[in-house]
Symmetry: C2
Subunit: 345 residues, 2 copies
């Protein structure tokens, strides 16, 4: 099938988006792929598949490629004598800011371009970790207790150490610290506040098990990936996670009882239904004292969590056939007509 992969973006995860795109080129080698790069200055470039290498972008070679602009129904390449429109379904692979904060989804909706990825409301609830907590509380999904700190106010936390400190709106572990005691707190907060004015503090749970589950909706049915128990070091730093975005080999199923799998799937479904339609997402769960807690929603997971699916290409094909599209509402002017009539002018 034909598919456009949109990657890059003005975000701290710009580079891992490039890595993700390169990985998908390999994983979807039987697709007819178009690559559109969103540079960090928000210019769109058409990238030849043969140029899909990290050094193309780090050397700035993309700047010599054809520029594209947005137009109703697709991306347009204009030259003096011709116009070419790229109207395939787009896979939004811009991780972090732009891609996951609702900006790119809004752009694609506005220009009536069909896309795989979270819609704008789903983006807002998953991009900001505080809003993910709001969502969990509202839909009855348990998560780790939390406190919110603002850059502008001095406030002591009431959660006992050790704690984990996270900028509210960044993924990929950027700016995140584990704080063992109060003496380390100032440094951790300074680091987190470099990236965001709002910071989330959670207890660092000892002995927690971590499980990742991905899925998407095809028709009315959620198709789940296998459950993975990710390699657990104390904590993944950005560079390790970066390598993680280039994963393409299928991983082994976590060896857990079937009823835990069902519990994870039930929680995933609560999060997904009515909000994430159109997206393939990965939910990262904790299991602590026999309770399932949602840790994070990745609405555009690294390399689309391809390594969790037995048949990733089919997953993308099925999802492409189940995309919601924003209704266009045309103006009838019936009120203006009736009021003009009433006013006699």
């Amino acid at each position: 099938m034909k598919l456009t992969i949109l990657f890059g973006g003005a975000s701290f995860e710009h580079e891992i988006s490039i890595v993700s795109a390169i990985t998908l080129k390999e994983k979807l080698s039987n697709f007819d792929l178009t690559f559109i790069f969103c540079d960090s200055d928000h210019t769109f470039y058409l990238v030849e598949p043969s140029k899909m290498k990290a050094i193309t972008f780090s050397k700035g070679e993309h700047k010599k490629m054809a520029q594209l602009s947005l137009t109703q129904g697709g991306f347009m390449q204009k030259s003096l004598f011709s116009k070419t429109a790229y109207t395939n379904v787009v896979l939004n692979l811009i991780h972090g800011g732009d891609g996951e904060d609702g900006t790119i989804s809004s752009l694609l909706d506005f220009y009536a371009i069909k896309y795989i990825g979270p819609r704008t409301d789903a983006s807002v609830f998953s991009f900001d970790k505080v809003y993910t907590k709001y969502l969990c509380d509202a839909i009855g999904v348990k998560s780790v207790p939390y406190e919110v700190l603002k850059k502008s106010e001095q406030k002591d936390i009431t959660i006992g150490y050790p704690v984990i400190v996270k900028p509210s709106r960044l993924g990929s572990s950027i700016g995140v610290s584990i704080v063992k005691d109060e003496s380390e707190m100032d440094y951790a907060l300074d680091t987190a506040f470099e990236f965001d004015d709002t910071v989330l503090v959670e207890p660092f749970l000892e002995g927690v098990k971590e499980y990742n589950l991905a899925g998407y909706k095809s028709g009315d049915e959620i198709k789940f990936s296998i459950v993975e128990e990710p390699h657990k070091e104390e904590f993944l730093d950005f560079e390790k996670k970066y390598m993680d975005f280039s994963r393409s080999e299928q991983v082994l199923k976590a060896e857990i009882p079937e009823d835990l799998v069902l519990k994870l799937q039930t929680n995933f479904k609560k999060v997904y239904d009515g909000l994430f339609e159109g997206a393939l997402i990965r939910c990262d769960f904790f299991v602590h004292n026999d309770e399932v807690l949602l840790n994070e929603i990745n609405p555009i997971p690294g390399s689309m969590a391809n390594y969790l699916f037995e048949d990733f290409a089919t997953a993308i094909e099925e999802l492409s056939g189940s995309l919601p599209q924003k209704k266009m509402i045309s103006a009838s002017y019936e009120y203006i007509h009736s009021i003009s009539k009433a006013k006699g002018k």
Copy 2:
């Protein structure tokens, strides 16, 4: 000051946006105004101020005007021999879909255009009435109890009649019904489900008082409007509300005790802080059994609630000087460089 008014949009409130824009032309007559119309097919047109009349649009005369496109920093008018950029601060006056659902804010953010109006996250929390409930619960602002019904599922409500039935994502009373008993429910649901797949049901509170309060942030301070007790008929239908969007005369302060004004302001501040910066919003409150309940957030109120401000022009000027802007994050490629080095290529 110079200001661009952006109005229209593909929404059920397209026409009232036109009425709002015409009203602001009058209220901001000492401004140097530019008018940009977003047609319901998402084409942008530059409208001469002298053409700012309802019939211009209902007769389709705007289609002969200059088309604009989005570009970094502003709206661009291109002709064969020249380019003109419109780079003023934009007042997003697109009510309802597009303007209030996060689409237009994302577009303006992406193209680095400064604007008055709710950011994308604020839009999501105010446009969808269910998400407004999530917000209220999370920040400790009381609101009317509610149940959610989905088009796809059969479910009985547990709230006693009379109830009020609202499509989750429409403003201006479109599709809203008061249901006195069960016999009227099917019709009310059919009407509401015409506009949205999700419907909110709330008890219809008898003897409720209604108060509207608008405000915006200038620097660190919220500037409040007067409190209005709106004319209360049982319920404003769309046509009445439509006329409401052309209001330009200052209204009288509600005659209420100072401590109630303070309570309303405290609730307003809880809603606004950290979410609505950059917007002038109107919160519509109920007072029921001495409790203040948030009924609705209007992040782009009709004619910008000009009639609630003693000096509306100054309000807009102050707000223009206090606009947040999305940080652009440039790519350093340091990870790609370090990984390329480690791989020796």
